[in-house]
């Protein structure tokens, strides 16, 4: 790295797509991306990536459309038309997109995969002890996705304008949306097989665990699956839930296939599967072991936004790890209908969702069945044998209506617990984690370090500390060059990035960023 360079972890470069936003500078409107905002050189030159972008565009029949609502400030002209859009370009056929209405009023318009896939995020991959545990973690972490997305919000600026959303998710979703007009429902189905309600980058659409607590009401009856493929998987011995999951992934086309991989089909490899799996970007990913490895089943938690400091990123990573341990130890149940999870994902985008919005969440995470595992199975050498009773075979409590199982909660309630006198309140993720830690032998120094991490998350959730999104907004708002017109100019950006650098170095110890981090030493 040059002396003038420093690595920072912001979700997006705030003025990506403005004139001259790269160093060295390259002309926009290249042959590969055909973007009027970013040059081809911004993409990784490995043949896979420009091909990926080109094929998404080809499949769509036009460029990707990333429209983000602009934040309306005092001096923002209204209605607002993105002033950086060039309607007069005639270099590529795709230049017609904007003349055909791709850019919307009151929205920041972007036209390339780079605007989405150029984002940074915080993903955690867990090793499961076996496939059952992997499937359970996948399901139980799913409803937490939108909560953690809102809590880690860090993306308030796009292409030099303040956005009216706080997170990156939907922008990535749109930046790789390869759906055809037929799949989008804009035209009647003629050549395509089905209408697709979601981009291939989207929140999860189904659950996969063979868990008796998974009620059919939690699943989406309208889930699109490739029925032929599902049949083949079932015939091959896969159970229905998992077959549904994979048959759902296979409703997408592989976007890039290398010709040489098609010459012979090598069944000892999983490349074709991995190709499809890795271009199905959902907020959880269920990862089978690679053939010939002892890696085991893994689950990836993908929704969180990257934070500015290592401290915060460590805090959120460890928090999720501890939640998985609490889930497995207490056998927690966070199931809600999967459609509510998708709705929560949208809610998480709303500006300052962490303190203004409510999310569907399950009220009682505990199992009601007394499961005296292994009762009667008295091994040798036990206490001098008072007559063991037979195992408790109390009939499982009848299920009530699904709607009674969950309600709308604030992020604070989900993280720190609901206050209620009737004992029916959600205990909160942090208290669950604390309770788990209290059951473990943890040395004082580790526990102290964990307390700092949990304290950050507790205070992010209750509003004591700000999200990075809020902090960046406030930074722009207070900047002398800000004209209250939603425009984040070059000087503001420069100062913002220098501030991010300082916060990265100091982690709030010098006071900068204390609104996000608290007073640290």
């Amino acid at each position: 790295m040059a002396r003038s360079e420093y690595p920072i972890t912001l979700t997006t470069f705030p003025r990506l797509g403005t004139d001259d936003c790269t160093t060295p500078s390259y002309p926009v409107s290249g042959q590969k991306l055909r973007s009027q905002f970013v040059p081809d050189e911004i993409a990784n030159p490995h043949i896979r990536f420009p091909t990926l972008a080109a094929n998404i565009r080809a499949r769509r029949g036009r460029k990707v459309e990333v429209n983000v609502p602009v934040f309306r400030d005092e001096n923002t002209p209204w209605p607002w038309k993105d002033p950086s859009v060039d309607y007069g370009l005639h270099k590529w056929p795709e230049d017609d997109d904007v003349r055909n209405g791709a850019a919307k009023e009151n929205y920041i318009y972007m036209d390339a995969m780079a605007f989405g896939m150029g984002s940074c995020c915080l993903q955690i991959t867990f090793q499961a002890k076996n496939i059952e545990e992997g499937r359970k973690m996948y399901d139980q972490l799913s409803p937490l996705g939108p909560i953690l997305l809102a809590l880690t919000a860090a993306t308030p600026i796009y292409k030099g304008f303040l956005a009216d959303t706080d997170v990156r998710w939907n922008q990535i979703s749109r930046a790789v949306d390869d759906r055809t007009p037929e799949e989008l429902g804009e035209k009647p189905l003629a050549n395509d097989r089905w209408r697709l309600p979601k981009s291939r980058y989207a929140s999860n659409s189904t659950y996969i665990s063979q868990d008796p607590r998974l009620r059919k009401e939690y699943l989406d009856p309208d889930l699109v699956v490739d029925q032929d493929l599902k049949r083949r998987l079932l015939d091959g011995g896969m159970d229905d839930l998992l077959a549904t999951h994979f048959a759902h992934l296979f409703i997408r086309d592989p976007i890039v296939v290398f010709a040489e991989d098609l010459e012979t089909l090598d069944l000892s490899k999983a490349d074709h599967f991995e190709n499809l799996q890795s271009t199905n970007w959902q907020h959880m990913r269920f990862k089978p072991p690679p053939p010939g490895s002892d890696m085991g089943w893994r689950v990836e938690f993908r929704p969180m936004e990257i934070q500015i400091t290592d401290f915060e990123n460590a805090a959120f990573s460890i928090f999720i790890v501890l939640i998985t341990r609490a889930i497995l130890s207490f056998d927690l149940n966070f199931y809600i209908p999967i459609q509510r999870v998708s709705e929560n994902m949208e809610t998480a985008h709303i500006r300052d969702a962490v303190s203004t919005q409510k999310f569907y969440f399950r009220k009682n995470p505990f199992s009601s069945r007394p499961t005296h595992r292994g009762a009667n199975n008295t091994p040798n050498g036990t206490f001098d044998s008072p007559a063991s009773t037979t195992s408790n075979s109390r009939p499982p409590s009848p299920f009530g209506p699904v709607e009674d199982e969950f309600e709308l909660m604030t992020i604070n309630e989900v993280i720190n617990g609901q206050v209620s006198s009737d004992g029916d309140a959600f205990p909160g993720l942090i208290p669950l984690v604390e309770s788990y830690l209290n059951s473990m032998n943890v040395d004082v120094e580790t526990r102290c370090e964990l307390a700092r991490y949990l304290d950050l998350i507790r205070k992010r959730a209750d509003g004591t500390y700000w999200t990075a999104a809020k902090w960046i907004r406030e930074y722009v708002k207070k900047h002398p060059k800000y004209g209250k017109d939603s425009v984040v100019g070059e000087e503001i950006e420069f100062d913002l990035l220098k501030a991010a650098e300082q916060i990265t170095r100091m982690e709030g110890r010098d006071g900068l960023g204390w609104e996000m981090l608290g007073k640290r030493r």
């Binding site: 056998d331 206490f383 004992g423 943890v442």
Partner: protein, 318 residues
């Protein structure tokens, strides 16, 4: 008569104390999980006996008497599912105030036996003993309180929670050492791999250690103070090779009168002890003897598979 009260495994399925909105100290965890376990067993016995549906079943239907010992509820084992080496099994034994110290030898063996039976195992990894009346704060040390300002605040639920132990004063080191001899014996018999004590500060440790044959491997400190543990203690523990662990237990885990209430015939009681002049239920004074807490953690994965308590009391016909 001896009463053996059990919570069963409180981690999953059955009674769970963390159903409550706030997370409590061990004394409330113990009492509420005992209550819940009793309720579950009462209901089980009711559902298998339709005639008793209308009224509360006799305690005889869900407890078991073996000679002069009454198991409440009837003893069920809950063996661990993986091989012994997969687990870290920790047992914490709370000696209670005002119980003759010479009973501790028998009590300790009894407690270990109950836990091993419950888990279906032959040995434990760590046995921590808690002597009555010691609390870490009372151990007057130089703590670097200037550190406190930048420390994360402790949520209200982690505060005292009725933990204050006003019933007893700490016993002298000599008495503790007498008890320790029993533990050293268990260690010698390979029933326990490591021994530990709780709430010891530097002063107490430095008096205690030279007289032990088997040194404590662990000193457990209340979690409330985990970020302000005095530096001298940290240094001393490092020097002596003692691991400082955190906990969230009350020294006074079973306050006076608690068991009588749990077992009594009041609205919230289990209906084992007789109220005013009635029936077949038991009469007499309940004298709590000791409490043991156990946890079995799957080492590699950090999953708590089993956790629970036994509380043992004597019922003396008054």
């Amino acid at each position: 008569m001896k009463l053996v009260l059990s919570t069963s495994n409180i981690m999953s399925g059955g009674p769970s104390v963390i159903r409550r909105p706030t997370f409590e100290k061990s004394n409330t965890e113990l009492t509420s999980s005992l209550r819940e376990n009793f309720t579950v067993h009462q209901q089980t016995s009711t559902s298998t006996n339709a005639a008793a549906l209308s009224s509360r079943p006799s305690f005889r239907t869900w407890t078991t008497q073996e000679g002069e010992t009454l198991f409440i509820p009837s003893h069920t084992t809950n063996p661990l599912s993986e091989p012994r080496e997969a687990y870290d099994i920790t047992v914490k034994l709370f000696y209670l105030p005002n119980i003759p110290v010479d009973r501790r030898c028998v009590q300790t063996r009894e407690a270990i036996k109950l836990v091993l039976g419950q888990l279906g195992m032959e040995s434990i990894d760590l046995l921590i003993v808690s002597f009555p009346g010691i609390s870490f704060d009372a151990d007057d040390e130089d703590s670097d309180l200037d550190d406190a300002e930048s420390q994360p605040s402790v949520p209200a639920s982690a505060e005292e929670g009725g933990c204050f132990d006003s019933e007893s004063v700490p016993e002298d080191i000599g008495t503790m050492l007498t008890t320790w001899r029993t533990l050293e014996k268990l260690h010698g018999e390979k029933m326990v791999s490591k021994l530990g004590i709780a709430e010891f500060g530097v002063q107490r440790l430095s008096k205690f250690l030279p007289q032990t044959k088997v040194k404590p491997a662990v000193d457990q400190i209340n979690v409330r103070d985990c970020c302000v543990v005095p530096k001298p203690l940290i240094l001393y523990a490092k020097k002596e090779g003692i691991e400082l662990l955190t906990h969230n237990d009350c020294t006074n885990v079973l306050p006076r009168g608690t068991l009588r209430e749990i077992l009594g015939s009041g609205a919230k009681g289990a209906g084992i002890l007789a109220g005013e002049g009635n029936d077949e239920r038991l009469k007499g004074n309940v004298e709590p003897q000791w409490v043991v807490k156990y946890t079995a953690v799957v080492k590699d994965r950090g999953v708590v598979e089993s956790k629970g308590y036994f509380a043992v009391a004597e019922l003396n016909e008054g």
